[in-house]
Amino acid sequence: MKKLKNTILWVACFFAVPTVFAQSNPELSDPEVASVAVVANQIDVSYAEIAKKKSKNVEVLKFAETMMNDHNAVIGQAVALAKKLGVTPKDNPVSQQLLADAVTTKKSLNSKSGKAFDIAYADNEVAYHKAVISAVEDLLIPQTDNAELKDLLTSVVPVLKTHLGHAEMVQKMLNGK
């Protein structure tokens, strides 16, 4: 019973990110949307940094490298657009909650090693990308007023979906071995 309880707790922690978006339906201004977009990308870069330090699996390392490059590229474009529009990304409860959840996830990832780490990282990437895709589609895009910011968010969705497909492939490979 205790084990079951622990499992439930662990799963709850693990899927903390989706609940942020699902439970609160916050109103966000464009500067806040910009902040959420940047923070969400930064978090995935920080997970990739952990993977690059801890993993020895070639496919996991390649995936982490892609995450770092792509999410940094998206941050670069979001920052450039914000600058062009004269928008300063503004801290908000959604960004704060994302960062708080990321602290928990990073702690959990850092506590693992070897194959257990690889599996935890791949599982988290699948869950995180699913959560971010629905957040961008259902929360950020509908709440964005500026057309260019909306366009950028819209064009990020295929990138995230490709990452999800890639993460699921890595996850499958790890579970198959």
């Binding site: 792509d70 998206v74 990138v159 490709t162």
Partner: protein, 137 residues
């Protein structure tokens, strides 16, 4: 001497014909062996600035929204295919089965071209779920 000259002309003619045989004798300028094409300026792939025209022996594959467009392309042997990255992130085009060729990373707004000599399944080695196919007919 005259006979020798005629023979040379005839040989030249035969060679010319045979080199175009697979293309029904249609003439087209030879393509250089170099595969790297540098954009003239960072914005040179903007639709409004440069229209890259496909011809019978020159084909363009756009990389946008994490897809090769068109994903499947039929070409003649010796045709040139140009990949244009119009996406948010860097991509590459890499032969999938034996890693026979790769573009290396194509930056945002970057271009890469290749003379195609055989059919190939290719993919983006950065985003392994992105696939394309070249068929030489």
């Amino acid at each position: 001497m005259k006979a020798y000259f005629s023979l040379t002309v005839l040989l030249f003619f035969l060679v010319s014909c045979s080199s175009n045989e697979s293309n029904n004798g249609e003439k087209y300028p030879p393509f250089k062996e170099t595969h790297e094409v540098q954009p003239a300026s960072p914005n040179s792939t903007d639709d409004t600035k440069v229209a890259i025209k496909n011809t019978a022996h020159f084909h363009t594959v756009e990389i946008k929204q994490m897809k090769f467009v068109p994903a499947e392309l039929t070409v003649h042997e010796g045709d040139t295919v140009l990949w244009v990255n119009k996406d948010l992130v860097a991509h590459d085009a890499t032969e999938e089965n034996k890693k026979l060729w790769t573009s290396g990373p194509i930056a945002l707004g970057g271009l890469w071209s290749k003379v195609v000599t055989e059919s190939a399944d290719y993919y983006c080695s950065i985003h392994v779920v992105m696939k394309g196919k070249l068929t030489v007919e």
